[in-house]
């Protein structure tokens, strides 16, 4: 018997799930996040899980994810960090890219760099763009810098030299001198942390990594010993932003890769739910109090992005933050959640968000003094929320306050309270649908073939209508969506990547050299993956190459068969095919070239069926409540069912409402609704003639 535990430390709650690997049974626990020592909540949750199950003896693995690193970057609670860089380049952090993120705003401000100017040191070592040495590393010079860093009581060092993605030797040389002179002070080098060309973005990423590294190292070490004290001696693995887990040691070296670990877990959990129901194309949809997020996944693979921004000066304003180049699950995020405030803008249009009423004063219906109507107020009036059943009945919602706020807002543009509520709902759902539509279209896919998977407190409330707008017919609502990130951690594979850049025309490619390089990379990956306890023959291989026309700066990704070495002709053909699908036409006379090769191995990529450990079925009475039906543009009484009372196999017809403690699934359209054998709710919208 093997047990595995997943723990997710979020901004509000610390969630835990214990899985019996053989039976697929899960037990859940939740506790408020303890900011002073997050380990307290983790210990509480772990204890609760083990009490439910009975023993700690057989826990083979704990997978952990956390938003704490993201928070410490946003709140700038890192250590005093120094930067060592090439002579003349220390101001790169202030100069940024010189771009204004809002063309018309004359008073823009920019986030302060994480390292003060007096803590940025320059040394004369220099490489040329081809990696040749223009000036060698002077160990005397580096030692003098080390002495200064020691005197300044620096807690971490970032090293970023020009052209290190081409040759990392200077960064490595300087790291070893610094490491010797500054025992206990971690050194991050840019060629390892980021490895992309473009000094500003790479420097910013490396500095952010160094800034939080000592804290993360200590945190993970304490966590390890806490688990040991609790009688758990299984491995501690950490979830990273790209949707895989890695060892605690690796995570301690590259904490910047953990920024989106929680949301990545949520997406994996949604994908798992979809794959179990044979959905190849998945739109994971999650909506909480302030934002809605979605992610497109095809054949079980989420979209990955390599650019990320944190500490934005203006929320949702691209370019106003600090860049971090690290592979992350590509989340489409819009500033619309339950607390988002609706207003009439100066153009006379109804607008929702991005300002949020938060929990205080909160939406008007909370009766805590909030006067602005929010998405929650609209949901209440449309019958999406139960005034007496919100948050499991712990909070009463005042419909008359919501009505008043909506009526007041709408009156200035000739809308009544219901029309205003309907408008708010439409705008939120349509904005979310529009964002997803773009991502799906960019991949050349047809939205109608997708399955939408809804999680988060407000996700199931809006999911069916978002799906309808995308012409998606099938919506799934997994069990235990309140701890979705944890379920994702438990299905996350272990993964190791190797990449190398060598720009050359396809015409000049040497097939034998390439084959040897791929083989060497595979050997390294086998070593890394087997270190996590996986078997070498369990590894699934992937190979792709980024290609472009000679002279271009951006690449298109060409997926190749990892088992054979492609011929020049195959490479060219695949590139042209991919290029046409992205850009609509090829470039006459253009010369295809390869840029970056990526090999990765994935082990333990499984689809996993979960089942709640405690199976007591509640006997909730079905009730009725008034729900807004868009097709009829009117309110209508529909059945409200308790999810916990519905056994697998139950079949229902929409419109209807299915509620549980964390959320409500709202089906305002004609649809077949079914409880599947693992407890997932499936909604299939009736086909509408278009």
């Amino acid at each position: 018997m093997t047990l595995r535990i997943a723990i997710d430390v979020g901004g509000t709650f610390t969630d835990g799930v214990l899985l019996d690997d053989e039976t697929g049974k899960i037990w859940l626990a939740k506790s408020l996040t303890t900011y002073v020592d997050p380990g307290n909540a983790i210990a509480t949750v772990t204890r609760e899980l083990l009490e439910q199950y009975g023993t700690a003896k057989d826990v083979s693995q704990v997978v952990h994810g956390t938003t704490l690193i993201t928070n410490s970057l946003i709140e700038r609670k890192g250590v005093k960090t120094a930067l060592v860089t090439t002579t003349g380049m220390r101001d790169a952090l202030d100069i940024r890219r010189e771009l204004r993120y809002d063309t018309y705003d004359l008073g823009l401000t920019y986030p302060k760099p994480l390292v003060d100017r007096e803590d940025r040191h320059e040394i004369s070592a220099r490489l040329g763009p081809d990696g040749s040495e223009w000036a060698a590393v002077s160990s005397d010079e580096v030692s003098a810098v080390a002495a200064k860093l020691h005197a300044d009581k620096v807690g971490a060092v970032a090293v970023c030299f020009l052209h290190s993605p081409v040759s990392s030797r200077h960064e490595e040389e300087v790291r070893s001198i610094l490491a010797e002179a500054l025992p206990g002070v971690p050194v991050s080098i840019s060629s390892e942390v980021s490895g992309s060309i473009g000094e500003y973005e790479r420097m910013s990423t490396t500095v952010a990594n160094a800034f939080v590294q000592p804290l993360v190292k200590t945190y993970l070490e304490r966590l390890r010993s806490r688990f040991t004290e609790g009688g758990i001696d299984g491995r501690l693995d950490i979830m990273v932003s790209n949707g895989a887990f890695t060892t605690a040691v690796q995570a301690g070296e590259f904490p910047i890769r953990l920024l989106e670990s929680g949301p990545a877990g949520g997406v994996l959990s949604a994908i798992n739910c979809g794959m179990l129901q044979n959905a190849d194309n998945i739109l994971a949809f999650d909506m909480g109090g302030t934002t809605a997020k979605s992610c497109v996944a095809v054949n079980g693979r989420p979209e990955i992005t390599h650019t990320f921004e944190f500490a934005r000066e203006k929320r949702f304003k691209k370019g106003s933050g600090l860049p971090a180049q690290t592979p992350s699950i590509d989340l489409i995020e819009i500033g619309a959640g339950g607390g988002s405030i609706a207003k009439i803008n100066p153009l006379g249009l109804l607008q929702v968000g991005p300002e949020s009423a938060g929990s205080e004063p909160g939406p008007a219906c909370y009766s805590l003094g909030g006067e602005n109507p929010t998405v929650t107020d609209a949901d209440l009036i449309l019958g999406h929320l139960d005034p007496d059943g919100f948050l499991g009945g712990t909070m009463k919602l005042d419909g008359s306050k919501a009505m008043q706020a909506l009526a007041k807002l709408g009156s200035s543009v000739g809308l009544d309270a219901l029309e205003t509520a309907r408008g708010i709902n439409e705008i939120v759902n349509e904005n979310m649908a529009a964002a997803a539509r773009t991502h799906i279209a960019e991949k050349g896919l047809d939205a109608r073939r997708f399955t939408l998977i809804a999680t988060g407190g407000a996700g199931p409330v809006h999911a069916v209508d978002v799906a309808r707008r995308l012409r998606i017919r099938r919506v799934l609502c997994p069990i235990a969506s309140g701890v979705g990130s944890c379920l994702g951690f438990l299905v996350a594979p272990t993964r190791a990547d190797r990449a190398w850049s060598k720009v050359e025309a396809v015409e000049n490619l040497d097939r034998e050299t390439l084959a040897a390089r791929v083989a060497a990379a595979k050997n390294e990956i086998v070593d890394e993956i087997t270190a996590t306890g996986a078997h070498a023959n369990s590894i699934n291989w992937n190979l792709c190459v980024e290609m472009r026309y000679l002279g271009q700066g951006a690449n298109v990704e060409v997926v190749l068969n990892p088992a054979v070495t492609a011929s020049k002709q195959e490479l060219t053909e695949k590139f042209l095919e991919e290029y046409t699908s992205v850009f609509g036409r090829i470039v006459p006379g253009g010369i295809p070239e390869v840029v970056t090769w990526r090999v990765w191995g994935v082990s333990g990529e499984t689809v996993r069926r979960f089942e709640l450990g405690s199976t007591s079925r509640a006997h909730g009475e079905a009730t009725r409540r008034s729900l807004y039906i868009p097709e009829k543009n009117a309110m209508e009484e529909v059945e409200v069912l308790q999810r916990a009372s519905l056994p697998p196999g139950t079949k229902l017809r929409g419109p209807c409402i299915i509620t549980e403690k964390e959320s409500s699934l709202i089906v305002s359209h004609s649809a077949d609704v079914q409880i599947l054998d693992d407890g997932t709710i499936e909604v299939v919208l009736d086909e509408v003639a278009t």
Partner: protein, 517 residues
């Protein structure tokens, strides 16, 4: 019955801006030159069938947003809308009908629904090269400035115009990059058209009706914002580095701004006459940067479209530096055109006070170097920002592109493309003017030329003679500097660089705002 209401319009408007941004993102990915992907020197605009601007890419060069609709109207006049067929793509770089210099190409495609044109997709981009002498204020005739592409069809119903393409290829230094960008622009307008047609099909919306709605709303909001400001007429003069033939060697920009009810007008009577140097600014470009300044002051938050321009009128005397006659040289027009926002801010300082901002140190600083490296031709083109003026409620930002919006090119990319060694790129601390709100600091850049063959280089460095003035008693910014092998240059111009030559550039500090208390 109309489908438009405060809800439907909001949803459709968001989607319309979204599809333009998507087309722009595709263009950046497909482009061949660093001018697009590193410097952001482009804009994508969608117009209705009459050339009214409906939406543009969020990350856009302010001038291009306003010039592109003019170019669309030119194509309509020149070819007649009835002669246009699906798959037609038009191109020009005419400065008077385009963006004010030959270096930018404007590419436009009509968007058809069945047999009818419903709108136009357009993109403007700074081409990697256009032949002629390097873009340079010292050029004295338009004919030195490169290949002129009059309004022409690049694609005839989808068929490439082989003659035109051959002409372009033979006349530019880096034909693969240049044509690569032109094809990327072609993809961009084609895909923008498709996206619009999809949106119209899905939503069953009438584009004309929708255009009237959003343009009307923007116009009303702009008029309201103007009406809220006091009526009156104010004038301001700003000076900039100019040719010796002008009095004192300086160019004078005189802006007289009148607010009358919900209308604002700017007249440039009293500005210098056109000159035999490539710093003349065609009326299209003059209008564009004037409108940019007014929108930034009055209603920065309004989504931009034709409606924002309707309450604005801009005039400049024919034959002046802000409305030159053909064939005046115009290549470095940004060196003067970028002064229009600070001139307007200065004029409106009295009625608008704290909302205004002192002058930036930045009008258009630029470096170009071209030669052969082995047998391969290179041509780099990189921008440097400077200090923004203090004001608008805060100290001026340092090292930023204003009023344009161009990125720097990473040092790693520059050194990859041309044989130079960038020894330093740093902030010039203390170069911003003093004031209650300090001016932002300029940028210093030092590089050594390492090429074996000598290269042609052109530097457009502004404010060597005339530093950025302060506002309301704020101090002036530090002037700019261009030094080659220790010799300070008195003006921008072209130079031959040989192995080992050392170039030092310092861009100007921004002006300060208000007296220090």
């Amino acid at each position: 019955m109309s489908k438009l209401n405060p809800i439907a319009t909001e949803i459709l408007w968001t989607r319309l801006v979204g599809i333009v941004d998507e087309a722009a993102a595709t263009f950046v990915r497909a482009s061949f030159s660093t001018l697009v992907r590193e410097a952001n020197d482009y804009a994508v605009v969608l117009t209705d069938r009459t050339g009214r601007n409906l939406a543009q890419s969020s990350q856009s060069i302010p001038s291009f947003i306003a010039t592109l609709p003019e170019t669309v109207r030119l194509f309509s006049r020149e070819f007649g809308i009835e002669s246009m067929r699906p798959g037609d793509v038009f191109i020009t770089n005419d400065p008077w009908y385009g963006t004010g210099h030959l270096n930018d190409a404007t590419i436009v495609a009509p968007i058809f629904v069945q047999d009818d044109i419903v709108g136009f997709a357009g993109v403007v981009s700074h081409l990697p090269d256009i032949g002629g002498r390097l873009r340079n204020p010292a050029n004295r005739e338009l004919f030195e400035e490169g290949l002129q592409i009059p309004p022409l069809r690049l694609l005839h119903a989808g068929e490439e115009d082989k003659v035109l393409i051959r002409m372009i290829r033979e006349n530019v230094r880096v034909p693969d990059e240049t044509m690569g960008d032109i094809w990327a622009m072609t993809s961009c307008v084609t895909s923008l058209g498709l996206r619009l047609v999809n949106m119209l099909n899905e939503t069953e919306i009438d584009l004309d009706e929708f255009a009237n709605d959003i343009i009307g709303r923007t116009e009303v909001a702009m008029r309201d914002a103007i009406r809220a400001a006091p009526d009156g007429t104010w004038a301001y003069e700003i000076e900039n580095d100019g040719p010796a033939e002008l009095k004192g060697g300086v160019v004078v920009i005189r802006a007289t701004v009148t607010i009358s009810g919900d209308i604002v007008s700017v007249d440039y009577e009293g500005s210098s006459d056109q000159v035999n140097l490539a710093i003349n600014t065609v009326l299209n470009y003059t209008k564009a940067y004037s409108a940019y300044a007014l929108k930034s002051l009055f209603a920065p938050w309004i989504p931009n479209n034709e409606g924002a321009f309707l309450p604005i009128s801009i005039t400049a005397p024919e034959g002046s530096i802000l409305n030159p006659l053909r064939p005046a040289p115009v290549g470095a027009r940004g060196m003067i055109g970028h002064l229009l926002p600070p001139a307007i801010f200065g004029a409106l300082a009295e009625p608008l006070g704290e909302r205004t901002q002192a002058a930036p140190g930045s009008p258009s600083n630029n470096i170009q170097i071209t030669s052969l490296s082995g047998r391969k031709r290179y041509a780099i083109n990189a921008f440097l920002g400077a200090g923004q003026g203090g004001g608008a409620g805060r100290d001026g930002a340092s090292a930023v592109s204003f009023p344009s919006n161009l990125s720097n090119t990473p040092v790693e990319v520059l050194e990859n493309q041309a044989p130079i060694e960038v020894q330093s790129r740093h902030i010039l601390h203390g170069s911003g003017g003093s004031g209650r709100f300090r001016g932002g600091d300029g940028i210093g850049m030092t590089f050594k030329f390492r090429g074996e063959s000598s290269a042609m280089a052109s530097f457009m460095i502004n404010r060597i003679k005339c530093p950025a003035p302060g506002l309301f008693g704020g101090g002036q910014g530090k002037p700019a500097k261009l030094e080659i092998n220790g010799n300070a240059q008195i003006a921008s111009g072209s130079h031959v660089l040989s192995n080992g030559d050392l170039v030092i550039i310092e861009t100007g500090g921004g002006g300060g705002f208000g007296e220090v208390k």
